[in-house]
């Protein structure tokens, strides 16, 4: 194949070919949208938006909350994303503090619940829906192991749950972080940490993603997963023998939100997406997955979704506090529980 050709010539040819194949660009207005939405939400959201906005195409970049936030921060000097659609509000606050977001008041944003938008005018971000920490409890495995059903966070400290609980690592998972921040806010900082100290004794392992503990509970790998309420409902509908429990003390929650990235070359299309993401139509999409949405008028019954979700949400949830203290909380958490090197079984 490379007989009778010069060696450097062949290298050059190969490199040139790669280069050529890389520069073939597309047409149309393509928005690069960074998101931490669950995978099954991407296709319906994209379809619904594109149907209303012909000429604009969404290209998703999806990962869990920590990864998307890290990626955006890493690209700070040369941002690749046009819009962030579906990222934790506390992460967007960190980006906003770094001056990375373009404030914009979407059409109809004034109709949304006040707690679901940035307090500034125009807002740097606008909320979509809320998700919260829930306990997924595998009834089949619990039966075998004679484990009682927990109803509160305090219950999880019972000695019989030793090594039976999985929860997300707050450093990587938005769900893990909202749970931790929820405990610190409702119990107070000192009591919150001492609660987690004792919980840590019962935790078998900390997962990277927020939905995984519930899926592990659904598969019986560990009977109890601290996870997302929506994942619980979804797994139960798929046939998993689990109960989805909202702790009686109230649960930590987080908001998914939309923001435009400062420096985007496609501001008009980005604004169109921001407008749509705040619309009633968009909220009707969100409600197919999460019961608590930004739009006050939009509600729907989801099969197996825990009852009274909105009532269980911690009323005093302070995102500003959570965003401002994120670094310190995660460093403390890492110091206390990250060193746990022996897995408990």
């Amino acid at each position: 194949m490379i007989r009778r050709t010069t060696l450097p010539g062949t290298c050059a040819l190969a490199l040139l070919t790669i280069v050529a194949s890389a520069t073939g660009a597309g047409a149309a207005t393509r928005l690069t949208v960074y998101t931490a939405l669950e995978n099954e939400q991407l296709t319906p959201y994209k379809k619904a938006f594109e149907a209303d906005n012909p000429g604009i195409e969404i290209e998703w970049v999806r990962d869990s909350t920590g990864v998307v936030t890290a990626k955006l921060l890493a690209e700070k000097d040369n941002p690749k994303a046009d819009v962030v659609w579906g990222l934790a509000a506390s992460s967007l606050m960190i980006l906003d503090a770094q001056g990375m977001l373009m404030p914009y008041q979407p059409k109809g944003a004034e109709d949304l619940k006040p707690s679901f938008r940035d307090a500034k005018t125009p807002p740097a971000w606008v909320g979509m829906d809320a998700w919260m920490a829930a306990i997924c409890f595998n009834t089949v495995e619990a039966e075998k192991k004679k484990l009682p059903k927990p109803t509160s966070w305090a219950d999880l400290l019972k000695p019989e749950y030793k090594g039976q609980i999985v929860m997300p690592n707050p450093a990587s998972s938005g769900t893990g972080f909202l749970a931790v921040s929820g405990w610190l806010q409702t119990m107070g900082v000192d009591k919150g940490w001492s609660y987690m100290d004792r919980l840590n004794d019962n935790v078998a392992l900390y997962t990277h993603s927020g939905s995984k503990p519930c899926k592990m509970a659904a598969a019986g790998e560990y009977p109890i997963g601290i996870s997302i309420e929506y994942t619980g409902a979804q797994q139960k509908t798929k046939g998993a023998p689990i109960d989805v429990i909202l702790a009686s003390e109230g649960v930590g929650w987080e908001m998914e939100a939309t923001a435009i990235v400062k420096g985007t070359q496609k501001a008009e299309a980005a604004k169109a997406l921001a407008d749509w993401a705040a619309s009633r139509k968009a909220n009707e999409q969100y409600v197919n997955f999460y019961q608590v949405t930004a739009h006050p008028g939009v509600t729907k019954e989801t099969p197996n979704y825990p009852k009274n979700a909105e009532a269980a949400m911690n009323k005093a949830n302070d995102f500003v506090w959570a965003a401002a203290n994120r670094d310190r909380i995660l460093a403390d958490w890492e110091k206390r529980y990250g060193a746990k090197s022996e897995p408990k079984s």
Binding site: P8, T10, C11, D63, A204, K212, A219, S341
Partner: protein
Amino acid sequence: MSMLKVAAPKPSFFTVRQSGRPVDPGERWLFGLGMGGIALFLALFVLLPLGTLFLRSVYDRDGAFVGLANFAAFLEAPTLVRSVVNSLTLSLLTTAVTVTLAFLYAFCLTRTHMAGKGLFRLLAQIPLLAPSLLPAIALVYLFGNKGILRGLLMGESIYGPIGIVMGEVFYAFPHAVMILTVALSTSDARLYEAAEALGAGAWKRFVTITLPGVRYGLISAIFVVFTLVVTDFGVPKVIGGSTNMLATDVYKQVVGLQNFGMGAVVGIVLLLPAVLAFVADWFGQRRQMAQLSARSVPFQPRVNPVGDRLAVLFCALVGGLLLGLLGVAGFASIVTFWPYNLTPTLANYDFAEFDAAGWSSYANSLTLAFWTALTGTVIVFAGAWLVERAPGRAAMKGGVRLLAILPLAVPGMVLGLAYIFFFNAPWNPLGWLYHGMAILVLATVAHFYTVSHLTAVTALKQLDAEFEAVSASLKVPVWSTFLRVTVPLCLPAILDIAIYFFVNAMTTVSAVVFLYAPETKPASVAVLNMDDAGEVAGAAAMAMMIVLTSAAVRALHALLSRALQARTQAWRRH
């Protein structure tokens, strides 16, 4: 930019040949440029990004210069120091197990007359076909809390050191076998005949001829395995439980804590084995003598009924375990709802259900793998040849050699992160590469440069330098010797390298996870995303697609190799 410079010598090459002048000056100039091109490639895609990473390690998150504060913080964090201990002990343990098994396996393949060598050769490659997440997923199905063979662990948990070592042995095994097979496959039968004539027993021949002969390959294998394991994050990520390793710490620092400075620091700590590997390579290189001189007689294993049967037994056991683990992953991919509903289904292959990219990520992987194999093989073999065979300054060669070894110790996460800092920097004229397929290809070539380089070097070292000396005295241009003698003689190794690149490009996760764009997302990243989200069945299904593709390519390679063996390797037999 680099291709323009590399292309420059082309006209002069023809003038030199046509004018029939003495070959030396023109050649030297050409080699200098070739070497410069390789050095430039490695500098742009390994050294400079890493340099940016080093810079980053002395800045805090807000971009303020903090000196060595990040390093001090590293040493003060008990978690991270613990990770160093975990990484070292588990990697050493894995290396000992892997290299021992791989050596025996490679020995059976090359030095016995056992049946089914072709099959065992293929079996040994199984782990290469899959992302490192796959053995971990399979181990969970086998030994997890609901695992099929849970009882075998006698109450110990698979989530932790046991799972990590088992998964890593699976993952690293073929890499060691590949190097050791190349090292063991060429030896001079005259040495063995002489030893036998002098009355040396089998053991003595093994210790005095075989072991010294493969010493260089053995050292390479040890370092390759150690650094592979120390830097792998796929296995500990899936099955490590709360056992932290340095590679997963990089991930945590960067992804979770968004602490790029600290991620960079941990990455730099992980670079230390590269320095060790270089020192070892340098020493090995000093001591290594060409095994195959122009007068060599290829070694031909003799029939030994007992030994050959033991060899088959051993290889069947090891190969069976490798195949078994793959089988479990295949099983995982067709189960409806593990472990409560075991009805077989193909629903898990409907990837759009778990991942927005659906099947398109699979197509992306094919493109990525093709280009990586083509570009990587050309660059690596040319580079190895320039370093080992072409005239040139020793300092330059040493530099290129160090650069070629460096990528092995760079965890994919770190390389990916370094690429973001380097290629996404506003001042970088190469910024247009960012977010295209090209950067994935180049990152993958750089990431897997070292093992391919070592394979090429090992193959080249076994050819006597007299080939070049004779050509020179006959006034045959050195590149002519390269294309007409060296390349054909090394074709099996070259094909191995191409396939190694292809399959690794199919399976790599870490190098590309920070670099992929929506339209270039590879299948392996889809596996990671699905596993992360807890969609283990979907992840297993996509991993199986990667395995099946890689297996098909390997099958093609086996056929091609056989044809080549007949055409270009007959000299080894007679």
